[in-house]
Symmetry: C2
Subunit: 347 residues, 2 copies
């Protein structure tokens, strides 16, 4: 069944032209006559020709593949990021090579190597935990454009696109304070990441400027997952002086916190205010709808892809460090919307 491979030469023979002409047609060159173009295209369709990109790549150095490596595909934040990237990459005529590292740096090394071997013309990386500048050094030295997303790596010397984590946390906690909360926790996340550090910094700054003290017992780390959120809130509720509100490391944790709250017969939004981070799609439709710091993962993916494409086109651009603004979207889980809605109804 597996028929002989049809090549450009077969097409040429069948169409009565040279292989060069066929090649020209394939690349949509304006040099070729309309009639022959039509003829060639017809033969191509007829013989079921499939373009051999390996051969093309071999000849010309550029590959039309861009790679994206994420640290946790099962986290919908990254899945959305990937579809954002895919959208723009695709429409630019590139194809996306996606790999998941599962936070393992060994695995990350492998997939990056593999992508290099396949000749990707650019790479978008959301680095695994613990990735250092040295790990990326061979890659950046090779001159392949790289943009880091979500997590920046100091001294890597490549472009990065991260969200303004400190500002987001600051805004969220200010909001909580404005609504009268005094005991505010920071829940979830691994303490050894830059993202965690930035978010906690914003949290602390907000408390400080309100003259509240930021005790260490109120920031409790955990896995940045739904399950982690459950354990984090449980731990926080063991404190003798319990918090009445929490900013969570991300939305997954926030959902877990809501779950944990309910398990203790506390209604999130009414009895306890919770704010997430990321604005995953489900945040809007959850009940109560999650108040969260919107970082628009899909949009971030799009911007990262655009940045990368720009660098690919430019050959070798100066690395830029973009910090993407962030905004607090107030929904129901922090209690604000409930109040507001009641006001609306009564007016």
């Amino acid at each position: 069944m597996a028929k002989e491979r049809v090549t450009v030469i077969d097409i040429a023979r069948a169409a009565g032209v040279s292989k060069s002409t066929v090649s020209l047609v394939l690349q949509g060159s304006p040099l070729v006559n309309e009639a022959t173009r039509a003829k060639v295209n017809a033969v191509i369709r007829e013989l079921g020709y499939v373009y051999n990109r390996s051969a093309a790549n071999l000849r010309q150095a550029k590959s039309k593949i861009i790679g994206i490596v994420v640290n946790d595909l099962t986290n919908s934040f990254f899945a959305e990021l990937a579809v954002g990237v895919d959208a723009v990459v695709q429409s630019a005529g590139f194809v996306q090579f996606l790999a998941n590292t599962g936070e393992k740096s060994e695995r990350q090394r492998e997939v990056i190597a593999s992508m290099r071997e396949h000749g990707v013309s650019g790479l978008i990386i959301s680095p695994a935990r613990g990735t250092e500048a040295a790990d990326l050094a061979p890659l950046v030295e090779s001159g392949i454009p790289v943009v880091l997303v979500v997590r920046d790596i100091a001294g890597a010397g490549v472009s990065s696109l991260i969200s303004d984590n400190r500002a987001g946390a600051l805004a969220a906690v200010r909001h909580l304070i404005a609504r009268g909360h005094r005991r505010i926790a920071f829940l979830g996340g691994f303490a050894d990441t830059a993202v965690f550090e930035a978010r906690v910094r914003g949290y602390r700054d907000a408390l400080r400027e309100a003259g509240l003290k930021a005790g260490d017992d109120l920031v409790v780390g955990s896995a940045p997952s739904r399950a982690g959120g459950v354990t984090a809130i449980e731990q926080a509720m063991m404190l003798e002086d319990r918090p009445t509100a929490a900013l969570c490391f991300n939305d997954a944790v926030a959902f877990g916190v809501c779950d944990g709250l309910r398990a203790r017969r506390l209604e999130p939004g009414a009895d306890f205010a919770v704010i997430g981070f990321d604005d995953v799609i489900e945040a809007k439709t959850a009940v109560p709808a999650l108040t969260t710091v919107s970082v628009d993962p899909q949009g971030m993916g799009e911007r990262a892809a655009e940045l990368l494409l720009k660098q690919i086109k430019a050959g070798r651009a100066e690395p830029e460090a973009i910090v993407s603004p962030v905004r607090l979207v107030i929904r129901q889980s922090c209690g604000a919307a409930v109040e507001r809605r009641m006001k609306e109804v009564s007016s």
Copy 2:
């Protein structure tokens, strides 16, 4: 900065051997002397050589790439499926090319074509809605191994791996009936899909065998998402004779149904029984933990990958249609576990 590409010839020259020897080393051939192998490897590291897979692919027809195309990456079911595939594919020395079609068959055509051009040696496809056998025809004629997952396509003539949707729904609804429910709804999903059809069939069969009538008003379709679940339950609760339990099209819908229930001050698991389908990771940690039909997406991905690998190795195998067994995992959202837990406590 972008240095000259170092090739196998450069290595050969630097190591004082021929390019053939270097090639042999690269492929780990046992033919080459240990000393020269070490020498060559040292030079490879020293010069920062990166293997050019395009060139290799050109020479030998096999490519070490397998492609996976999913219809909705933002649905964590598919994200997990993809990581399952990735795990086995990777350990077999292949690399995974992942693309997302977003349910658009035009897009699906493009990505499949692109993968063919890159010379994938096999393809795992979770087809977009509305994909027909004819759409896949050119692909299967080319003789490249394909396995369809999640959704089968009649007459496509390729292997498929789907879960036993009817049996799962049957078991779930039987359980609901055994717990005394009489008004049971089927919520969510697009009615024009085979998966929907099979699940509803199981649902109907269970009702019928219990002598319950399966009114059409109790099956309400919607988008297979969290938001869809919210609207579906809302619609179901408009009925004058309200259901007291529901089997949902998938877990995302089930979560939405829980949300919708809470919005009406009904506690899922206590006031209304809900069962999902898929057993996404969050199902276990949600509150209440979701009773669901476990299809183990990650395991399914692994099995699909193994099947594909087997076919790739075998050259051209007979298409197999595997239906993967499924099991009802009883947690809290159907009310059963609550009862059981109380019993445990009292004993």
